[in-house]
Symmetry: C2
Subunit: 213 residues, 2 copies
């Protein structure tokens, strides 16, 4: 109940969770999209974007589970957008258009205050300026008896991992080499944090690994 | 023909190719054995150690291929043994007993000269003190039209990778978190070195990935 988890987080063979040099045309960093190849053609991804059809199977099952029982999301500011520094205006409303795929409260970590932003479909972005634990407290409260999903990006995940706040992570290891970008685990001792591998399943286009405390 | 390759090299989910603190009781570093769980119960591993039976399947196929068409091996001194500094005597003859599983010339990189060591079954260890490229030249010559296999450990692989000498690597990603040890790829940009993923196959107990130039 009320688990704090990461799900459907893709990494490369060489350990990167995002490519380098994020910008408007590369929301996941250069070549970052390739990490998510296993996800883009699934039925779940299609449905989010209003298409029917799409691939069924193991990858799709993990994609579906990643959205189940989620009562609130937390993300870093770079996952919300490419804007850095103060919000010059309120024109940036996320990468996802008018109806983002969250349908819950989403707590965005930032150093720069901004009023809450209510979108279609039940998603409201709340901008949290007083740190990780405040965001987590607010997300837990909003989630009720559902899970809090830490969406990303890499820096946000690393901070919550090191702080000991994440209980479960589902990783999708994609058959891709990035060579540069944001390494997810470098310098983090996961067994010392209490994690072991509880599941490892071959998907059609990625290897799905669940680690938990 | 005469490919320089790495094969059946196991890494953890968090990117370690060996555990920390190698010594006599932990030839692969602390918890390093867990990286190779996919290999130890295969038919190929059993046969090497004189047992019949053992597991067939994808893992076993990759294990078998790792030994096929190999005409010479190269390894770092730490893969050969736990002795550091000058060879005080010649009593250390490798981890593998009287009949090592190589059955070819094996070139051991070391800073400390030592006479060649001939073992049963066609394995001779040659101790090379004049560097990576000398060892590779000698291994190529010994291998004839067969492949040169760079056995390990992590430091030796990294040096040959950075020098651009490795053409193919078969990695076995094991569902294990080590947390500490020797990271295989950290700081190495594999795409910049020309590598892409050419194969990714789910084994019974590891994900097998082949990267090549």
């Amino acid at each position: 109940m009320n688990k704090v988890r990461v799900a459907a987080f893709s990494i490369s063979i060489d350990g990167f969770g995002a490519g380098p040099r994020q910008d408007l045309v590369n929301p996941l960093g250069v070549r970052g999209r390739e990490l998510h190849g296993w996800f883009f053609d699934t039925e779940v991804f299609g449905r989010i974007h209003g298409h029917s059809g799409g691939r069924q199977g193991v990858d799709n099952d993990f994609a579906r589970r990643s959205f189940e029982n989620v009562g609130a999301w937390i993300m870093g500011r770079n996952m919300f957008g490419p804007v850095r520094g103060p919000w010059l205006d309120e024109s940036w409303k996320g990468w996802w258009g008018e109806n983002p795929p969250y349908h819950t409260p989403v707590f965005v970590l930032t150093h720069n205050p901004r009023a809450p932003l209510t979108m279609a479909g039940g998603t409201t972005f709340y901008f949290v300026t007083d740190g990780l634990d405040s965001a987590l407290r607010q997300a837990r409260e909003a989630a009720g008896d559902k899970d809090v999903r830490i969406g990303g990006g890499v820096s946000t995940l690393r901070q919550y991992l090191i702080a000991g706040r994440i209980e479960e992570m589902h990783l999708a290891i994609s058959p891709v080499l990035l060579g540069e970008g944001e390494p997810l685990f470098s310098g983090i001792d996961l067994p010392a944090l209490g994690f072991t591998v509880v599941k490892s399943v071959a998907g059609e286009a990625a290897t799905h690994v669940v680690i938990a405390k």
